[in-house]
Symmetry: C2
Subunit: 386 residues, 2 copies
């Protein structure tokens, strides 16, 4: 096991009818900016529950944060934070709203002039404006971690940010919210969380036995509940396991003590930036090609995954590893997720070269757990994913 | 899955040669009370590493905290905290030293007159004196939780305490410390952590699929590394998995969303208080009888445990459940841990009645996950364990 440091101070409030507990989590003298997305919370009753819970607080609202939270929109919210002297942020939404809230938390106390520098210069936020979340869409794990991904439409970029000051103070996870989520987003959430685990697991064995088993536990649970969640989103038991699996998939625990990859995300983000493909679906496009291209380096872990998660017991290490990739592709298909770029766009020619060029320009010359995935290799993987 | 709240703010610093990082974790203006046990840290080099790391701080020392930390001894330390105007506590030791430090953290800021009230009246500590730990003996998980068990020799009592103010600010876990731990204590640590997981798992199925798998992951890992740790405590890989498993076994995560038992601990504590038997060994004495006595209520989980953890695939649910108990007993024996009270003392007659009477006097009329384990049942279980 590698050396590591781990600290995650977010308070999780999990379960049925927990949104009312908001009342006790935000300081009574706070001036709150309530942030949300496209307005679905006004249709499914969550908005009313939230408003009722914080009725005694001073609250300003900012809705309309889009999927792949857009920098320009968030800068409008930052202006409100400053003009209204906001002291506390409350994100009610999925990963996009929470991620958007994180850049606001960072930017509100940022001493530089240009908030984009936080992303472009990779500035770690040590202290942000305090914020909490009410999760409405399980997927990204943003509700219990300190990272965020922000999109800038004018340059077609998706960039990451984070820092120890960006953990939510609290996150409320009521699995009942899942009953009103459309199938497409449920499938995305399952795929996103599943791939988050793979990024922290599908590398090479390093003797972190417990960490491996925790990762496999999340994968097994997602596989077990996925058909139930898709068939009946009002199945509370399945919804609860789904929601908690998404949080545990990316709250920092699984990545401790082990090598991590994240090249699938690096490539996937570009597909969202270039074509607007749903984040989770870009991961399902890239992951199979990535694992096939890096087969030799990853086959021991692929075989372990095949054995323990998919019960693939026949054949050699190579056989099991290959079968595990195929089974993963089949799983994505069972969720209704296409796994080739050409399933999403006809304009895919040149994409591999564009992404490779971008990575070169950014100095991303060695991605992955061995830091050896160079832009020319990225180009080949993306081509394999056409 | 049951509703739950989870917050664990302890910073874990894990790995090889991490004790030197102490320097950055304690405020520079702190006046530190360095607490330790019987002095083994002066033989194995840990004391020197700690002293070197905090050489620029004002430090007072208090050694001699015994196993099953003794209230009277700790009150001597409390006097030093007050006389010397200590502001920060540093525990260097195993669960006993850390637990002892927790009552000091609580008592240092306690507004009542008699610190024992914290234990006897079950007062939750919301804010304690800040403290950190350097773990020298993996077992109890105290390094990443907010609970403690304190012994009072004059009344032969072991009582529990805790509260959200009693999480360590940081804990340093260097698996190299394991190389100098005696076999007896290694076996105790493995047994203690294993039983901690059982207390949070061996109840009844409630659909918390991920939580069950996390618990099984810790059990499987302890089983896998136990023989390696006992055979060669200098095996760093095995030591690291052992140490991390002990922490994860009782840092609060496993118990969230599931019913918990803890009756094994309640009964076991009495055996330590009455006979001075090592804590872990009392758990190995009680657990098999407890599971046999409550077989009908627990057999579904026992069978699941048998299947997933011990690969027991033959027979009915009852068969698997019974075999799982037998396999657990065999595992304790493989660790060199005896599982009958008569293996430890010849004076066991009347013990069951004594414990039953104590529980009645304390009003502990319904232990266990169903809160139905009454003192008369406790009496029968302890007798089965003779």
């Amino acid at each position: 096991m590698n050396n590591f440091e781990f600290k995650n101070p977010t308070k999780i409030i999990f379960g049925k009818d927990t949104i009312a507990k908001l009342e006790n989590e935000i300081p009574q003298d706070a001036k709150v900016l309530l942030l949300y997305g496209g307005g679905s919370i006004k249709k499914n009753g969550i908005y009313e529950q939230v408003k009722s819970a914080i009725k005694n607080l001073k609250v300003v609202e900012f809705g309309g944060i889009p999927a792949n939270p857009e920098y320009a929109v968030l800068m409008d919210a930052l202006k409100i934070i400053k003009d209204e002297e906001i002291t506390y942020l409350l994100a009610v939404g999925g990963g996009s709203v929470i991620d958007g809230t994180k850049i606001l938390s960072a930017a509100a106390l940022f001493e530089g002039d240009i908030p984009w520098d936080i992303l472009s210069k990779g500035i770690k936020t040590e202290k942000g404006m305090p914020f909490g979340t009410v999760l409405t869409l399980p997927a990204t794990g943003s509700e219990m971690n300190s990272g965020a991904v922000i999109t800038r439409a004018e340059t077609k970029e998706k960039r990451t940010m984070g820092g120890p000051g960006l953990f939510p103070e609290f996150s409320i996870l009521d699995p009942q919210v899942i009953s009103s989520i459309p199938q497409r987003q449920l499938a995305n959430g399952l795929t996103d969380a599943f791939t988050h685990v793979l990024e922290q697991y599908m590398t090479y064995p390093n003797g972190a036995l417990l960490q491996d088993r925790f990762a496999e536990s999340v994968l097994q649970t997602i596989i077990e509940v996925a058909p139930k969640v898709l068939k009946d989103p009002t199945d509370y038991k399945a919804a609860a396991d789904f929601m908690w699996s998404c949080t545990m998939a990316l709250n920092g625990l699984l990545q401790k003590g082990v090598p991590t990859d994240w090249a699938v995300h690096a490539m996937g983000h570009e597909l969202t930036a270039l074509f607007g493909i749903d984040h989770a679906r870009t991961l399902a496009v890239i992951a199979p090609s990535h694992y096939k291209y890096n087969f030799e380096a990853k086959k021991e872990k692929l075989a372990q995954y095949g054995e323990r998660v998919w019960n693939i017991t026949e054949g050699s290490t190579d056989d099991k590893a290959y079968a595990a990739i195929e089974r993963t592709v089949a799983f994505f298909h069972e969720l209704g997720i296409d796994t080739k770029l050409s399933d999403y766009t006809k304009d895919y020619e040149g994409t591999a070269e564009t992404i490779s060029k971008r990575f070169t320009e950014r100095g991303w010359l060695g991605l992955g757990e061995h830091q050896t995935l160079s832009p020319d290799k990225v180009e080949k993987i993306v081509k394999m994913a056409y």
